[in-house]
Amino acid sequence: MTFTLLARCPRTGQVGIGIATYSICVGLYCNGLRGNVGATMTQAFVNQGNNPLGLRLLAKGFTPAHVLGELQANDPHHEYRQIAVIDRNGRLAAYSGPKNRGWAGHVSGEGYVAMGNMLAGPPVVEAMARAYEASAPLSLERRLLAAIEGGRDAGGQVGNDGHVPERSAAVIVYGDYDHAELDLRVDLHDTAVEALRRAFEEYELYRGYYRERGRNPRAAIPQYEFVAQLQASREAAQ
């Protein structure tokens, strides 16, 4: 059980994933993003070889539809997987295998796939898609967060005894570089989506400082001074 929105931002070309699930440490499995190549994610019963293979196939030039076909042909258990593939042009393919448990499905739009399994029903993926589309002017990371919050608010995941909590969540975005532009996780928490939002809003305050400190070390103020300034501006705002 998991709900995910995988996307390519049509404005910036960035690729990203927003994901929340009952499983712990889900960020461990989100290794299918690469700038200028594309994005792929396999979930439900995970085949961990799929994401690296899918990225390599995209990098060779195969279309998402062909990559998905290869991932299926290469895996005797593919009917248990849920897979999305998006290339750097925003073309996409998605598959919710018939042996996923509970309600499983996906919806897609321009450059994105919302997908999930063991969900309360189709409204969960539909709410993710709506939240993603409605937030179009925002940064990709904010749109991904809005999507998983939308999925949570539409009922999220359902196990044998009813609703189950999100225990881990992640939002990851790649741009032009080999390293992530944002890679933020909550690995073990009772309300992981809320915790991820809190972590994001806090981290967002530091992002520019961290980036600039690496690029221009000579001009960087010590971080505890930066923290004191943050604290002062928070107090002034209250």
Partner: protein
């Protein structure tokens, strides 16, 4: 300010990184861990492109010492970086630039390098090495956890009169495959090392279940059932 240890398990060839720092979400800036290639970590005032570049260079066949020389030549601010590199055979190179702030240094031991900056002193590196070397037969992730706990218990970050808390922490371990085997994180927390211990212990309880579920889905029990069994065993 940060303290980290890169290490290798001589028995299995597994490679890994344990890290903690005052900065938030440090685990999201650790791309330099690649199975059967090596580990590369740049910190202090990091150059984010170093680590992916270092992995590519080691994969081409370059030694850590040569990779470090190329980093120096490729970066006008090399003097502000702190870098440790280890290849799959356990060869190492380490650099603590003169521009790193506070007490900064690195120290190597068997199959590992401990390095940090903005620390209370060299005892932090010794604490990390002792933690890592205490039980060499344990799984690498446990040795890395003990290393960062050893660094924390030896005083961690700050100055003798102003300790700085660990606000994020991470452990990453790769085996033979091209995805990590262990990748646990704490991104925003007032005592991130203690919280990472909690996450790691919990992850280890689920690790085999998650792997088995993916490899043989037909036999997998639902996860909420597995969680109930875990809970019952805990109570017993």
């Amino acid at each position: 300010m940060t303290f980290s240890l890169i290490g290798r398990c001589a028995r299995t060839g597994r490679l890994g990184l344990g890290i903690t720092t005052f900065s938030l979400a440090v685990g999201g800036r650790c791309e330099g861990v690649a199975a059967n290639v090596g580990v590369c970590k740049t910190q202090a005032f990091p150059n984010r492109t170093n680590d992916p570049l270092g992995i590519k260079l080691m994969a081409e066949g370059y030694l850590p010492a040569r990779v470090m020389a190329m980093f120096a030549a490729n970066d006008t601010e090399h003097d502000f970086r702190q870098i440790a590199i280890m290849d799959r055979e356990g060869r190492i190179a380490a650099h603590t630039g003169g521009g790193c702030r506070g007490w900064a240094g690195h120290k190597d031991g068997a199959d590992c390098v401990a390095f940090g900056n903005g620390l209370v002193g060299p005892q932090v590196l010794d604490g990390m090495l002792q933690g890592f070397l205490a039980r060499p037969d344990d799984a690498l992730e446990h040795r890395l956890m003990r290393a960062i706990e050893g660094g924390r218990d030896a005083g961690g970050q700050g100055t003798p009169d102003a300790h700085r808390p660990e606000r994020s922490a991470a452990i990453k371990v790769v085996d033979r495959l091209d995805y990590p085997e262990v990748d646990v994180r704490v991104d925003v927390h007032p005592t991130a090392v203690a919280e990472l211990r909690r996450v790691l212990e919990e992850f280890k309880l689920y690790e085999a279940f998650y792997r088995g579920r993916g490899q043989d889905p037909g036999k997998a029990i639902p996860q909420d059932e597995f969680a109930k069994q875990l809970e019952a065993r805990r109570r017993a």
